[in-house]
């Protein structure tokens, strides 16, 4: 009897006649299971989240540290790139003037006095530097060595108030004098009135006085001041070198400046 009943149910199931019944019966079971599973998963995650959270936080810390390390590496590499570009410019300048011998030096400080425009470089007499040697960069004239010790030197910039450089106009043979000032501005003085001076004129060092090598770029005329009642006209000059951002220089070591101090009374 039971076997007959079972065979009958099997036949109905295989025939698909019991499908709606199964659906109707399984729906609440599945709903209950879904409800229970959701709650259990929430409780399970809540109990396990501290561990996962700690692991995630640890991972974030590691990634942040790595990010900071890489950023500092990027900054360092960018600085090295700038230094390399700067040194390449100096090298290119040195090669273009192969008749001179140069020693490269880094600017490591400035004169403590606000009245003076001097810089301190990290090369000294041990590197062959001597007082009076001219100092240049790839852009142009910087100044001359004022004092030197074994491994450092002080350079008087051309925009210092006590500096005076014999120069000439690139456009002609007109000689003049370039002087600095308290404010760091440089001006061209003692230009004869009959000379045509105009903005944009290039200023180069002259051999007069024997203090600097000839034909080093100094700057460009910015404005001219000409008064008929004066003997000479003057001009403001834009220096070729940016002294406020000076970081590396070349010292011309094979140029012997003329020392006229015995002639000074």
């Amino acid at each position: 009897m039971l076997a007959l009943l079972g065979a009958g149910l099997l036949a109905l199931a295989l025939g698909g006649y019991l499908t709606p019944v199964f659906s109707l019966a399984s729906a609440p079971v599945i709903a209950t299971q879904r409800w229970l599973s959701t709650r259990f998963t929430a409780i399970y995650q809540m109990l396990n989240s501290p561990q996962e959270l700690a692991a995630l936080r640890q991972q974030v810390d590691i990634l942040q540290n790595e990010n900071a390390r890489l950023q500092s590496q990027v900054v360092e590499l960018q600085q090295q790139l700038k230094d390399t570009e700067l040194l390449y410019e100096l090298l290119r300048f040195a090669r273009s003037r192969s008749e001179d011998t140069y020693v490269a030096a880094a600017v490591i400080g400035r004169d403590p006095s606000p009245f003076l425009h001097y810089v301190i470089i990290d090369k000294g007499s041990d590197d062959g530097l001597r007082r009076g040697m001219p100092v240049v960069t790839a852009q142009g004239l910087v100044g001359r060595i004022d004092a030197v010790i074994a491994n450092a030197a002080r350079v008087q910039l051309i925009n210092d108030a006590g500096s005076a450089v014999n120069v000439k106009l690139a456009s002609g043979e007109t000689e003049a004098m370039l002087t600095g000032s308290l404010t760091g501005d440089i001006s061209l003085e003692m230009v004869p009135q009959d000379v045509t001076l105009k903005p944009g004129d290039v200023i180069l060092t002259s051999a007069l006085g024997g203090i600097y090598p000839e034909n080093i770029l100094v700057g460009q005329v910015v404005s001219v001041r000409r008064m008929e009642t004066e003997l000479f006209q003057t001009a403001s000059v834009q220096p070729a070198v940016n002294f406020s951002t000076l970081r590396a220089v070349l010292v011309v070591t094979d140029f012997n400046p003329v020392d006229i101090t015995p002639l000074i009374p």
């Binding site: 490591i108 400080g109 400035r110 004169d111 403590p112 006095s113 606000p114 009245f115 003076l116 001097y118 301190i120 004022d146 004092a147 002080r154 008087q156 108030a161 006590g162 000032s181 308290l182 404010t183 760091g184 406020s244």
Partner: protein, 165 residues
Amino acid sequence: MAVILGIPVMILVVIFQTSVLRSLVLIHGTADLVLLVIVAVAIRRRGTVSLTWALMAGLMVGFISGVPWFVFPLAYLGAAVLARFLSSQVWQTPILAMFLTTLMGTVISEGFQWVALRVQGVPLPMMESINLVLLPGLLLNLLLALPVYALVTDLTRSVSLEEVA
């Protein structure tokens, strides 16, 4: 001990002055950290320590600078003496003494420099020097006076150099 400690402290201060502070310019004036430290030490401590530090610092700065070497030792010694005098007059308000000495010390220091350079023949117009160098430098020194005083106070306390002023 205090004198020996002064050597590395002053070396560091001078290095910081020449490599960092000297590039921070207001118009054409700069702060003088060495002067501020000497003045602060002179106010915080009796005895000859501040005078010794002033002499050491002055010689260091005079060695580096293009100004005649004796200018900075004289200027800093003068500022230290002035600081000690003023701190004894306004002993209840050392911060006031710090500001007063900073003001007068700056004028003394930069005045000495200006005179020495003028004697050497460097063309430095007086009014430009006052307006563009002295006054901005004075403002910077006054701005830094209080932080420097606080740092020196901590320093003297941490190395047990302090005497009750």
